[in-house]
Amino acid sequence: METVLAFVIGGLFAAGLYMMLRRSLVKLLIGFGLLSNAVNLLIFTAAQLIRARSPIIPEGEVALRGPYADPLPQALILTAIVISFSVTAFAVGLAYRAYGAIGTDNLDKIGETEIS
Amino acid sequence: MILFLLNIGLALIWAILTGLFSPANLAAGFILGYFVLRAARRIMKPSQYFNTLPNFFEFAGYFIWELILANLRLAYDVLTPRHRMRPRVLALPLDTKTDGETTLLATLISLTPGTLSLDVSADRSMLYVHAMYASDPDAVRRAIKKGLEKRVIDLIRGTERS
């Protein structure tokens, strides 16, 4: 499955990057969303996939025995998910506001202000 | 009083969900429920759903059966190449009084064979329904009025009386 996921992740990366390279601000955000998913999946995969029990200790036991999924990458991904959600939420607000201020979703039309 | 009952109901749900029926856990559920209700008080208009909770479950069970029947017919239509439906948008005059009754009726109409609630008129006297197999519109109207609407009114008002 790691092999399959490697290609899924790569595909998601490529799709996300391609979306970010379009002219539309909204597509850029969607591209970022794809990338975020890809990265989280990457952490998940790189840290080793175990088709096994969730890392939850059953009632009446004091420790997990036998194979279980590594909880640490899960916690990391949770953090990353929340962070990328925050960033996305902010970016959505920014795009909305920018659309109001600039009047276009087209990234090519907002870029001429850099060289004095 | 209604709120109190609702609160007890929430405490029970709490106990069910946590799967621990100790007095302390029930008390905890009650306290939590109290705060939830407090928070929600402004949006709750006095209504009677929760004192009919057990009947509601029974009622729902009955309609699941109806749902299965409805689906078999639909499945046949889906899986055969020809469309055999005769759709109409119908207006259905309402006898329900409260918002609760109307809502329940509309919901059930959507879940039962061949009908789907679209809207309630502004004066709440009319329910608009999309019917799949309505070669005879009045037959559909009659079926709903005699069947579902009556059951809903009986269920809610009947329970209220007892």
Partner: protein, 501 residues
């Protein structure tokens, strides 16, 4: 007690930010909270540095979970210096913000965001965990995103979009690198990584480790604005209010530099012939492109923005040279640059206040009208150009010595040439904004009517520090050398984090 001091640089700005948020109805209250918070932070950072100087490297295991299982906060001298600079810049810019930031921005959460930013920066300097570093990066970034965009119209929005997008890419790459690294090493504690990495590197094909190192270089390189990853900076830094630019100029890229230095002195030190040479090449190209960008500009703040890039080149040049002297010079350079560059931005704000523009073609007559401001510009400007006896000279001198000692002549030539070009563009600002007469200028004395007193205080404070860093170059460089020695010999750091702390 150390547990208490170690958390303060995070907790103080966080508290200030929350209180400012809760005081959303009272602008005066927010201002008060902001100033008090920044003062306490500065104080705490000073005490922390003193503690580190007295007791050596300090570590605190968050949640009382031993490393590498929990997250460790670590302060060595390098971190302590960076923290102190953060406190200092925070304090100066808060004072400056009181006059430079308009009421609308203030009442829409400026001060709260400001302190969240400081929190993120401080956290980045404190943490001993690589993933936690990512989190602090994001705290800092999101706060900076908002500050960058807040209240802006067309130009500011355009800048903010680029800023946000390119920094997001950096975060993605950082996270990617982290994921791979965790997959390889199974740990995220930097000290733990440092102690295990030799072994891991030995078992892996060299290409794997190089690719991983390169990913970190690129991810941090974007944050630090190195060649060819710096685009977000000149695209955006001239758009927000000056106080915001000044804060960003002082702190943000430095966090990237810090991360590069930390990771490439603690973890990736087994293939320096490749990694650090790559860094050195990037340093040189960064200096050149940055300074050429500055030369090409005609707007005060844009020139300064491009100079940030070229100065970043110097800062990582020391890392690329990778000797204790070079690292010390880098650290000294960072201290110098943070102070001087922030101050230059502050000066630009005062100029903007007077003229309502920063276009050098329009500006003029400042030397005649505001000699005080002119002198306060000269100090950081000449320092930036590396002229003695100001701080920039010693920074440059250290790097030149280190480069010559290691026979890296090319980078030394680049460093000196870039310094000359820096002088050229500083002199250009001076010639145009200060010396030249303003065309069709109204009576220059009318400038006197606009009081700059509140601007002068923070500007003067930072100018004083620039002078002090230069005149006290001996002890300060010695401090930088101690910090560099700790970086160059990470065993103590590793030992304290993993066993004692």
């Amino acid at each position: 007690m150390k547990d208490f001091w170690l958390i303060l640089p995070i907790a103080v700005p966080m508290t200030a930010a929350i209180l400012a948020l809760l005081a959303y109805r009272s602008r005066a209250g927010q201002r008060l909270i902001s100033v008090i918070g920044a003062s306490i932070l500065l104080l705490a950072d000073i005490i922390l540095l003193a503690q580190v100087l007295r007791h050596g490297i300090l570590a605190s295991q968050m949640g009382n979970w031993p490393a590498p299982y929990g997250i460790t906060l670590v302060v060595d001298e390098f971190s302590a210096i960076m923290l102190l600079l953060t406190g200092l810049i925070g304090f100066a810019v808060v004072l400056y913000s009181l006059i430079n930031i308009d009421a609308a921005r203030e009442s829409h959460g400026y001060h709260s965001l400001f302190h969240f930013l400081l929190m993120g920066v401080s956290g980045s300097f404190l943490t001993g965990d690589l993933f936690n570093l990512y989190v602090w990066f994001e705290v800092m970034l999101v706060a900076s995103f908002v500050l960058m965009a807040l209240g802006g119209e067309r130009a500011q929005m355009a800048g903010a979009i680029k800023y946000v997008t390119l920094n997001l890419i950096s975060s993605i790459l950082f996270l990617t690198a982290l994921g791979i690294l965790y997959g390889l090493a199974g740990t995220l504690n930097m000290a733990d990584l440092g102690s295990k990495f030799a072994e891991i590197a030995a078992t892996q094909p060299i290409g794997v480790m190089r690719t991983l190192a390169t990913l970190f270089i690129i991810a941090f390189g974007i944050k630090a604005a190195t060649f060819p990853l710096f685009f977000w900076l000149p695209a955006s830094y001239h758009t927000p209010p000056v106080a915001v630019s000044a804060l960003f100029a002082g702190l943000l890229t430095k966090v990237g530099v810090y991360a590069l230095i930390r990771v490439f002195t603690l973890i990736f030190v087994h293939d320096t012939g490749y990694t650090h040479t790559l860094i050195l090449i990037i340093a040189g190209l960064t200096m050149i492109t940055g300074v050429l960008g500055a030369v090409s500009q005609n707007e005060f703040r844009r020139i300064l923005s491009f100079h940030i890039i070229s100065q970043i080149g110097y800062e990582i040049m020391g890392l690329g040279l990778f000797s204790p002297l070079a690292l010390a010079a880098s650290i000294y350079f960072i201290a110098h640059h943070i102070t001087a560059k922030t101050n230059l931005f502050l000066v630009s704000g005062a100029v903007q206040r007077l003229h309502h523009t920063l276009d050098l073609r329009v500006l003029g007559g400042m030397y005649r009208a505001r000699a005080d401001l002119a002198m306060l510009f000269l100090i950081p400007a000449m320092s930036l150009a590396g002229l003695p006896p100001l701080s920039g000279f010693f920074a440059k001198l250290g790097l030149v010595q280190a480069g010559l000692l290691q026979k890296q002549y090319l980078i030394v030539i680049v460093a000196l040439a870039v310094s000359l070009l820096t002088l050229l563009s500083m002199a250009k600002i001076w010639n145009e904004a200060f010396w030249k007469d303003k065309e069709g200028s109204p009576d220059p004395t009318s400038h006197g009517a606009v009081s700059l007193r509140s601007y002068i205080v923070p500007i003067g404070l930072l100018a004083g520090i620039t002078l002090a860093i230069g005149f006290a170059a001996g002890p300060i460089f010695a401090l930088a050398q101690r910090a560099a020695d700790q970086l160059a010999n990470p065993s103590m750091y590793i030992g304290i984090v993993l066993h004692k702390g």
